[in-house]
């Protein structure tokens, strides 16, 4: 039922945008699939393979996870190609281990069903995994792309209806771009205080 775009356009970051280098396309697709495993979203176009499409609305990919990961200040950009290759290698082993059918049209991690992607990410981020730090670091920034839009000024992200900030319901600032909440309190006692509270308000 998948309606695949032409081969030259598969695994690209945006539908219709052609990336000529196969390795680069594979790298992008694998990293997108990783980001989509952390915070899933809806498919960007029919036949989108990197995004599994298990959740409504944009996920980490639509939120800009790859843009964030590629920023030099994050410190992971130089290693992304290696990470993607390593993840695909792991995914190939995983597929063999579980008797999953190989799909040579996409990188091995992208070929995994969503639940298997989750299981593989769980394994490589589990205590004791030798490369755990790398995968956790990758996952941290995928999360930050979604719920913090950390590659964008927050006011710009809100103005552009950033999918992560919109999903979490992040409230907008006042007109000057600064957050203030004039109404903030129930303004009444809601519990008895500890009987031994000292005059300074501290525990005894």
């Amino acid at each position: 039922m998948d309606i695949l775009p032409p081969v030259s356009q598969r695994w690209t970051q945006k539908g219709g945008e052609t990336v000529s280098d196969d390795a680069q396309r594979a790298r992008v697709a694998t990293l997108e699939a990783f980001a989509d495993t952390v915070i899933p979203g809806e498919k960007r176009w029919p036949g989108d393979r990197a995004v599994a499409g298990v959740s409504d609305g944009g996920g980490a990919v639509a939120a800009g996870a790859l843009a964030l990961l590629e920023l030099p200040e994050v410190g992971l950009a130089a290693g992304l190609a290696g990470l993607a290759a390593l993840l695909d290698e792991r995914a190939a082993w995983y597929a063999t281990e579980h008797g999953l059918a190989h799909d040579p049209s996409v990188p091995p991690f992208v070929a995994l069903p969503y639940d298997d992607r989750v299981e593989l990410v769980r394994r490589v981020t589990a205590p004791g995994h030798p490369a755990k730090d790398l995968w956790v670091g990758l996952a941290v920034f995928c999360t930050m792309a979604f719920d913090a839009a950390a590659h964008l000024h927050t006011t710009d992200a809100i103005a552009a209806d950033h999918p992560g900030l919109a999903t979490i319901g992040f409230r907008p600032p006042e007109a000057d771009g600064v957050w203030r909440f004039p109404r903030y309190s129930y303004q009444r006692p809601l519990a008895d205080q500890h009987p031994d509270t000292t005059p300074s308000g501290s525990p005894a």
Partner: protein, 554 residues
């Protein structure tokens, strides 16, 4: 006026070099400068003030410039990295530690704290800091929604709950909850508003973006070796320099002070065994609940006034309400803890939260995203219990205290922390208590943060270079002087002997205040013309209750 003088091509001189400008450093800089010493403060991070503090989550904004997040093995540490240190990034919750804390025996089987220090003995010093910042008792009438909700849930579960004393000026606070990016309204009474400007006014010099690497000896004291740090990319170090001083006050934070000392061993000689050991994460642990708004209305009678019961996680000023029922001196050690309502900013503060009903790992995936859709209904509860001082630092990295990964904030530290059965049991007790309070009658669903990804997690690193009476288990004597290295004092959170069961900033500051008469006396013995004045940054002289003599100071 610059207090340091160039006397040769490279080495400068000061009477006292203070390393770090958080509570331990700022308080030392103030008292030494006002007492007449030439003080140089070296701070690794940048120097930002209110107009620089941005409401922006973009990497490179103030929220990442002033914050460090060090991932260790089993424990990750959040800390300030700027002039003003933790006081600029913290939530300004300032309770005093309960009396029983000072009687703790911990892992060493005898009283951990110096015999001279009890809650009563420390109260006058707590008073001084409370006056200087200032710190004030809070009222439920101005507690933000999240604190109110937690209080109501505690009450319904038969618990008490208290507004937590705070260094926030509630009148000027906008409850924006951007405190960890620095307060652009100066409502948070950080050290930028009291001790540090007062120290500057007395001639102290503060040099930001100066990272101290190690110390060596000179004929008259110590030589402090530093690198300049790039103002944008902290991975990039610039020129080196040295400053000689008779006295060095180390206050680089509990995740950095022991690293500097261990790196100094080849030049200074052996360090006390406790340098870089006995690290405590203040027994910290986090749970995040998702509140059912209808149940909050039905069970707790809450309404914001707009038909909504809660949905206000984003609103407020960090932690404002705690329940202290388990801070009971009659309970056994490792079973006492406080539970405090907390806000944590998105990004690092959402990553580890776990979907309560997830069938697989709760920190990622479909269920986590569904949990994120309800972010405004989150309530995070912070446990501070008695841990076992399990943390040990490994060999120092080449520079700084971390192998920096990102330009700012993220790095790998050499801390190893394997929680003992005591700590694990304390966390389990607290987790069960949080569940009992918040899941009662379906008010919420709650789950602890994942500890699989980066281990445990502390915003209050302590005890890695601690005071004590026993030379085998404490790096510092009760005057905060490093054993075997006269003239080196440590006054930051690393000096605190162990977990406090409450937010530690006021205790760190009170201990620094308490140490100052002794530090000034040591400076005088070194030939520095300085005296302890007993003044406070507000300019007022101390009240009878807060005089050092009344407190029995050295």
């Amino acid at each position: 006026m610059t207090s340091a003088e160039h006397t040769d091509t490279s080495t400068e001189h000061a009477d006292v070099v203070v390393v770090g400008s958080g509570f331990g450093g700022a308080i030392a800089a103030y008292h030494l400068a006002v007492g007449g010493a030439r003080v140089m403060v070296l701070e690794r991070g940048p120097w930002l003030t209110a107009p620089d503090f941005e409401h922006d989550l973009k990497l490179g904004s103030s929220s990442t410039r002033i914050f460090d997040f060090g991932i260790g093995d089993g424990m990750s540490v959040l800390s300030g990295n700027c002039v003003g240190g933790g006081s600029v990034v913290f939530f300004a919750a300032m309770p005093r530690a309960p009396s029983f804390v000072f009687e703790r025996r911990g892992s060493v089987g005898r009283r951990m704290w110096p015999a001279a220090i009890t809650r009563d003995a420390l109260d006058p010093w707590y008073d001084r800091v409370s006056e200087a910042l200032p710190v004030s008792r809070q009222s439920f009438e101005s507690v933000p929604y999240a604190g109110g909700l937690f209080a109501a849930a505690c009450a319904r579960a038969g618990r008490t709950a208290n507004p937590v004393p705070s260094a926030v000026d509630v009148e000027s606070c906008t409850n924006c909850n951007w405190m960890t990016a620095g307060c652009r309204f100066d409502a948070k009474r950080s050290l930028l508003l009291n001790y540090l400007p007062a120290a500057l006014a007395q001639g102290a010099e503060i040099r930001p973006l100066h990272e101290v690497q190690h110390l060596s000896r000179t004929d008259r004291g110590y030589r402090v070796h530093y690198n300049r740090v790039d103002e944008v990319d902290y991975r990039v170090l610039g020129e080196t320099g040295t400053i000689d001083a008779a006295i060095v006050v180390l206050a680089a934070g509990a995740a950095a002070t022991p690293v500097i000392l261990r790196r100094s061993e080849p030049s200074l000689g052996p360090m006390p065994a406790a340098v870089g050991r006995y690290f405590s994460g203040n027994g910290e642990r986090l749970n995040t609940a998702v509140i059912d708004d209808e149940r909050a209305r039905e069970l707790l009678g809450l309404d914001r006034g707009d038909g909504v019961a809660y949905q206000a996680y984003q609103v407020g000023r960090g932690p404002c309400v705690a329940t202290w029922d388990r801070l009971d001196a009659s309970l056994p050690e490792y079973t006492r803890y406080s539970l405090e309502q907390l806000f944590f900013p998105v990004g690092f503060g959402t990553f580890l939260a776990q979907a309560p009903d997830a069938t697989g790992p709760g920190w990622l995936g479909v269920e986590k995203k569904e949990m994120l859709r309800r972010w405004q209904s989150w309530l995070t509860v912070f446990t501070m219990c008695e841990d076992d001082n399990e943390g040990v630092f490994g060999p120092p990295p080449a520079t700084g205290n971390a192998y920096r990964i990102s330009a700012q904030t993220l790095g790998r530290i050499t801390l190893r922390y394997q929680p003992t059965a005591n700590t694990l049991r304390a966390w389990a007790l607290a987790d069960a208590d949080v569940k009992a309070i918040l899941e009662r009658d379906g008010l919420a669903r709650v789950r602890p943060w994942s500890s699989d990804l980066i281990g445990a997690y502390t915003v209050h690193p302590l005890a890695s270079c601690r005071i004590g009476d026993d030379p085998d288990t404490s790096a510092l004597d009760e005057s905060h002087e490093l054993r075997g290295h006269p003239g080196i004092f440590v006054t930051d959170g690393s000096a605190v002997p162990g977990a406090l069961t409450v937010n530690p900033a006021l205790t760190i500051a009170a201990l620094a205040e308490r140490a100052m008469p002794g530090v000034v006396a040591a400076a005088r013995r070194s030939g520095i013309d300085a005296r302890y004045t007993g003044t406070l940054p507000t300019g007022g002289t101390v009240s009878a209750r807060t005089t050092p003599a009344a407190a029995g100071a050295a």
